[in-house]
């Protein structure tokens, strides 16, 4: 696979190195001279000096034959533009963009730039899993496929505490797949009784989230 990576920061450089080790062909583009010179020592001819948001630079990197473009510069507008051009001008199907500032996420969505990777959002999600802030945590979101896995913490007032899985009237397209109790997970059956403090994992259609949440929590 031929991959173009824009932005030779820590993410770009390490990504390029990993991809090269996996046997892929990679061109890393960097527009800051100092940074380019430093990285060139390490990655040699796999690095190209230039501004990846300039069309002729992308063309020099051989974007016409690229299988994938990954934009990981420190500027969200640059990442948006590089991916937009790669996708819409050069017809690259596979793009990945880095979101630096989570509040810019909406702009990526608006302009159809996906998938995106945001370190801040990933850490926040992990944090939320470790230290639940709300009683509902998203563990996995497959937006295209319209399926998600969520975790719900059962409080003392949860209407399902003391009831069995079999008694639950779960909405269509939702399924309770695991119960985590005292740090141990188990796959429940119809006779499993919910207890206060349980973490419930469920797989569902995102549109059913509110309904499912209402079933487990006090409104």
């Amino acid at each position: 696979m031929y991959v173009i990576v824009a932005g030779a920061g820590k993410v770009g450089v390490n990504l390029t190195r990993e991809l090269l080790e996996q046997g892929h062909e990679v061109t890393l583009i960097e527009n800051r001279r100092q940074r380019y010179l430093g990285v060139e020592q390490l990655l040699e001819h796999n690095v190209l000096y230039g501004d990846a948001s300039e069309l002729w630079v992308l063309e020099r990197a051989g974007i016409e034959r690229a299988d994938m473009v990954i934009a990981v510069t420190g500027d969200d507008e640059d990442n948006i533009l590089i991916c937009q051009v790669a996708k819409e001008k050069y017809g690259i199907d596979r793009i990945i963009a880095r979101v630096n500032n989570p509040s810019n996420r909406a702009h990526f969505d608006l302009l159809g730039i996906k998938p995106v990777v945001s370190a801040t959002e990933l850490i926040l999600r992990l944090l939320e899993h470790e230290v639940p802030h709300h009683n509902l945590v998203h563990l996995l979101d497959l937006e295209e496929e319209e399926i998600e896995i969520i975790e719900i913490r059962l409080g003392a007032k949860s209407p399902v505490v003391g009831r069995t899985v079999g008694e639950l009237n779960t909405p269509d397209n939702t399924l309770v797949i695991a119960v985590i109790r005292d740090g141990r997970g188990m796959v429940p059956n119809a006779s499993t009784v919910f207890e206060e403090g349980d973490d419930i994992l469920a797989v569902l259609d995102p549109q059913r989230e509110e309904e499912l949440k209402a079933l487990f929590t006090v409104s």
């Binding site: 948001s53 507008e77 640059d78 533009l81 051009v85 909406a106």
Partner: protein, 155 residues
């Protein structure tokens, strides 16, 4: 009309003043509070007293754009010093806020050309400068009498 200009540099500030003088409502957004001073060059009162509006904020922040009045804007000019910023915010103005007239200043002729083909109104000062220079240079050989290779075209 209500005009929102993002980027209050030489282009943005001069445009803001002339549009205000023509009787339009003008709001400017810039991340640098100091750029406000540029709006008042040649005015004998403050920009606000003259009827203008100025907001400090980053162009990509929707909150700043909304504070500057993008929801009511009839026209939007993206004139920051970053081509990519201008291209992105112009598309936001177009697609998210449905502003009628959106114009982006893009210095790079290639990017300006491609985005123009995609339906964005673009102004490329670099291209204008190149054309003007070509125009000025075209007559040179003939007036000085040097044996210019005519018929080659300026490309």
């Amino acid at each position: 009309m209500f005009l929102l200009i993002v980027g209050c540099g030489r282009v943005g500030s001069n445009l803001a003043r002339s549009m205000l003088a023509e009787g339009h409502t003008v709001s400017c957004l810039d991340q640098d509070p100091e750029s406000h001073a540029r709006l008042e060059v040649g005015l004998d009162c403050s920009w606000e007293e003259a009827g203008g509006q100025f907001t400090v904020g980053t162009a990509l922040e929707t909150q700043a754009l909304e504070e500057a009045g993008i929801q009511d804007a009839d026209a939007f000019v993206a004139a920051t010093n970053g081509d990519n910023t201008n291209i992105v915010i112009a598309q936001i103005a177009q697609r998210r806020y449905n502003v009628d007239t959106v114009i982006a200043r893009i210095l790079d002729p290639l990017r300006a050309e491609w985005y123009r083909e995609q339906g964005l109104r673009t102004i490329c000062p670099t291209k204008v400068a190149i054309e003007m220079l070509e125009e000025k240079l075209r007559g040179v050989g003939e007036t000085s009498g040097s044996p210019a290779t005519s018929g080659g075209g300026a490309g």
